[in-house]
């Protein structure tokens, strides 16, 4: 329940409910906060549905994510006189998406730390046509170290690929490179990529080579102690 008066703070209760708390607030901030909470209440169901569709693995946490997002936006409203150009619901979605990905990454860290047996993790070679390969398994003594390394690997790869996307999107002529590389990472062979994109094969090879070079260089810059992507740093014949 939301009470529209200039002295109050909205406190979230379990599963999306709201409660009112008293605290001094300017009339303008109170108006923005009332707009935000009203938008949240009106679109909470749609936001929940969207989160479940986008992040199915987090379906049991969508209410917590939405509450975190609302609390974060409320904090900005109170401390920065914030009012997003994209509207309250659009901004709530942006924040909720970030918080969802934060949770997946946190979970990823825990998961990788907990992995202990049976992993086949010795090939990290992004320079191949696709990562869909069968790897030899590490010995038992290496598994704990490998699990920790794999955790850092996933996080680093995620950040580098996001940076790669933004770099491609900054110049329209780089967009085919992004698509070709995504197709490659999703398992398509160069001939399939050429057919799918309507490009000659030699152009696909060029695009893939450029993309891999960019990604590998970024990884090498980030993986300064060469401890995350082992095979990426090996020279031929090693």
């Amino acid at each position: 329940m939301v009470v529209n008066r200039p002295f109050r703070t909205v406190i979230l209760t379990e599963r999306g409910g709201t409660a009112i708390w008293g605290c001094p607030m300017s009339g303008d901030a109170a108006r923005r906060e009332a707009e935000l909470v009203a938008a949240f209440s009106a679109h909470q169901s749609a936001l929940r549905h969207w989160l479940v569709q986008a992040f199915g693995r987090l379906r049991d946490e969508v209410d917590d994510i939405l509450q975190d997002a609302l609390a974060e936006v409320l904090h900005r409203v109170r401390t920065e006189a914030f009012s997003p150009q994209m509207g309250w619901v659009g901004y709530l979605r942006v924040v909720a998406r970030h918080r969802a990905i934060d949770r997946l990454r946190d979970w990823e860290r825990r998961l990788f730390r907990g992995l202990g047996s049976g992993e086949a993790w010795r090939t990290d070679d992004l320079t191949r046509d696709s990562p869909h390969v069968t790897d030899p398994r590490p010995g038992p003594a290496e598994q704990a170290v490998e699990a920790e390394r794999r955790g850092r690997q996933g996080l680093l790869l995620s950040e580098v690929l996001e940076e790669f996307c933004r770099w491609c999107e900054s110049r329209p002529q780089r967009l085919p490179m992004k698509e070709a590389y995504e197709r490659s990472l999703r398992g398509e062979q160069p001939a399939q990529i050429a057919a799918g994109m309507g490009l000659p094969a030699h152009e696909v090879y060029t695009l893939l080579n450029q993309a891999r070079t960019w990604v590998v260089q970024r990884i090498r810059q980030a993986d300064v102690d060469r401890s995350v992507f082992l095979t990426l740093h090996r020279r031929k014949g090693e």
Binding site: W50, Q53, E61, R93, E119, T123, D124, G154, K178, L185
Partner: protein
């Protein structure tokens, strides 16, 4: 969480960061532009990402009720 991801290989790590963390998703601005003009030549990469690869994050983003943005 109810379903732990299978992370038995480097391929699964790649799948995880692309499909679930959205590492190759287009920017919000380009996705919004794609929504308005899905057949535009400059959106070819997004068409693949959304329609062929079936990115669940972008699909959900595009299915949100118009007017709630």
């Amino acid at each position: 969480m109810s379903e732990p991801p299978p992370l038995d290989s480097f391929a699964e790590v790649v799948r995880w960061v692309i499909q679930e963390l959205g590492a190759l998703c287009p920017s919000a601005e380009r996705l919004a532009a794609y929504r308005k003009h899905p057949q535009a030549a400059e959106h070819h990469d997004i068409r693949y990402h959304v329609e062929q690869a079936g990115c669940p994050i972008c699909r959900a983003e595009l299915q949100i009720t118009p007017g709630t943005r």
